[in-house]
């Protein structure tokens, strides 16, 4: 089977699929479309609100084409017609190739990319040019210009259809969700190895004071973006980076009023070892040894004491 609807033969697939989509989801899509939702969107969702709607792409990849109507309606773009981002696609199955329109100075940004994702990103740029320009200069944007396909585009961080303001708890860019959003790539050893980036950044954050505070529910605890920025993220060695030693004091100073260079230098994504921070490594290592020894002797003593008292009692009662 080449391309086509999930299940069924290629020829009959679209018909069966459409019918199925109509039967199973008309009710769902038509349930509560708020009055502001465009008619076009409602029409698209006749098919695309079907949870089981998948499509086998020419590449062989099977892609889910489901969009949850309620979540899309509730998103910041809920009132936009689908075509605003997706272009004129006509009725399904859509064969038209979406056009990728970018401002002239940003044309290289989507180097090597095509299809719906590139078109959707171009659509973001159309309204969010300021953010796009910041992104284009960033470490991610520059890599994208070089044709690196692993770097995130708008939708990878913000999601495609369920974009919410950062102060919305459900938003992928809400501070509460930022570590998970960044971890999608930065904790992926395969992806990071391709670009020679450390994978322990997420782990070292989670075990740091900031990470722990966040896990016990501190809404003000710093997350990835608090220090590294949002769209204008640069490699730490880049003088424009918020975590470059030249700017770190100012970055820390956003929360810690009396930050100093020494203070800024104390936060880093490193795990102590023989080579890195040997003093901390040794203190950790030997204190752990002391802890295990003391507690072992302690429990052994309690255990033996209990047994000895039992023996004494038994002997005494004889």
């Amino acid at each position: 089977m080449k391309t086509g609807w999930s299940g069924g033969r290629p020829a009959a697939g679209p018909v069966v699929g459409l019918a199925l989509a109509l039967v199973t989801t008309v009710g769902l899509a038509a349930e509560t479309p708020p009055p502001e939702v465009s008619d076009e969107t409602v029409a698209c969702l006749v098919c695309h609100s079907n949870r089981d709607f998948t499509w086998r792409m020419p590449s062989g990849e099977t892609r889910r084409l489901f969009v949850a109507p309620d979540r899309f309606y509730a998103s910041v773009h809920g009132q936009l017609p689908c075509g605003e981002c997706h272009g004129e696609l006509g009725s399904g199955p859509h064969t038209a190739t979406p056009t990728v329109d970018l401002p002239s100075d940003l044309t290289g940004l989507l180097n090597g990319r095509q299809g719906a994702r590139a078109a959707a990103t171009a659509a973001c740029v159309r309204c969010h040019e300021q953010a796009a320009r910041e992104y284009a200069e960033s470490v991610h944007g520059q890599a994208s210009r070089r044709g690196v396909l692993d770097v995130p585009l708008c939708g990878d961080c913000h999601s495609a259809h369920y974009i919410n303001p950062a102060d919305d708890l459900e938003s992928t860019v809400n501070p509460g969700n930022v570590p998970a959003t960044c971890a999608k790539c930065h904790a992926d050893a395969l992806v990071m190895a391709r670009h020679d980036v450390k994978t322990n950044v997420v782990e070292t954050f989670e075990t740091s004071f900031h990470g722990r505070k966040r896990l016990v529910g501190d809404k003000n605890a710093a997350v990835c973006t608090s220090c590294h920025g949002v769209h204008a993220i640069y490699a730490p060695r880049d003088p424009r980076s918020t975590v470059n030693p030249a700017n770190a004091v100012q970055t820390c100073g956003e929360c810690h009023k009396n930050a100093s260079p020494q203070f800024a230098a104390s936060f880093k994504h490193t795990v102590p070892s023989h080579a890195v921070d040997p003093l901390i490594y040794n203190v950790k290592h030997y204190h752990h040894l002391v802890l295990v020894t003391v507690l072992t002797v302690m429990f052994l003593h309690i255990f033996m004491d209990i047994i000895r008292r039992q023996i004494n009692r038994r002997r005494g009662s004889q």
């Binding site: 896990l215 605890a221 204190h287 003593h301 309690i302």
Partner: protein, 278 residues
Amino acid sequence: MSQRKYKRWDMQQVRQHQLLVSAVLLLTITGMPLRYADQAAGQKLAILLGGASVMAALHRLGGIMLTVALFWHIGYVLLRVRRGTMRWSTLPKWKDVTDAWELFLYLIGRRPTEPSYERYSFLEKFDYWAATGGSCAMISTGLILWFPGLAARLVGPTGINLASVFHSLEAVLAASFLLIGHVYHVHLAGGLKPFNMVWWTGEMTRHEMEEKHPLELARLDAAEAAEVEPPAPEPVAPPAATLEPEPEPALDDEDGDEVDNEMGDTESDEADDEEAPR
């Protein structure tokens, strides 16, 4: 019949211990969720405690309580030194080493009885110094983490990270040791009914003294006998003397010295068991 009570701690010492206990419990409860933030139990306890900011405030309150307890104790010790009533009975001695060895032999069944302890057993001395040293370590590293901006200028990045690592590890050691080891050996184990109440009343019964501090009791009895000369057949002295194991006075000449010293001591109850002040 109600047993005779022996005063071991004055009310200041009792209150110091109570403050220390409250501080350690509060610090443990409010600190562990952060230590185990990656685990569900830690996160749930944090919610129970009223969230991250309430927890942090309570932890700092606990830190202040611990600091007060420490400085209160230091002040108390200094005052007693000045008044000349300091007994120095928590200072380690060679007898503590032999006691530890004898306890080990007793536990493995190579010795019929536990070692006889003076005013403080080697375990109690260890607990005392561990708690004092641990408090100093936890307070200083805690202050670094409380005021990282200022601390960074003083101790540098390594100092801050060291404090963070140490505070976290030492917390587990201290809390486990105090809440399990100390509570078992000092408060629960042995002939204490229902458990050691010195932390509440400052007093021990005669039976508890016989079990836990036979040498001290013998010394007190001897001093009493010397003081109250006329009724020569002291009714309580013989059983205490028989309780005392044989090898003790022979093994430890230091102890013998002390008993000799105390014989002539004719002061109040507190000064009574003063250990050979030099």
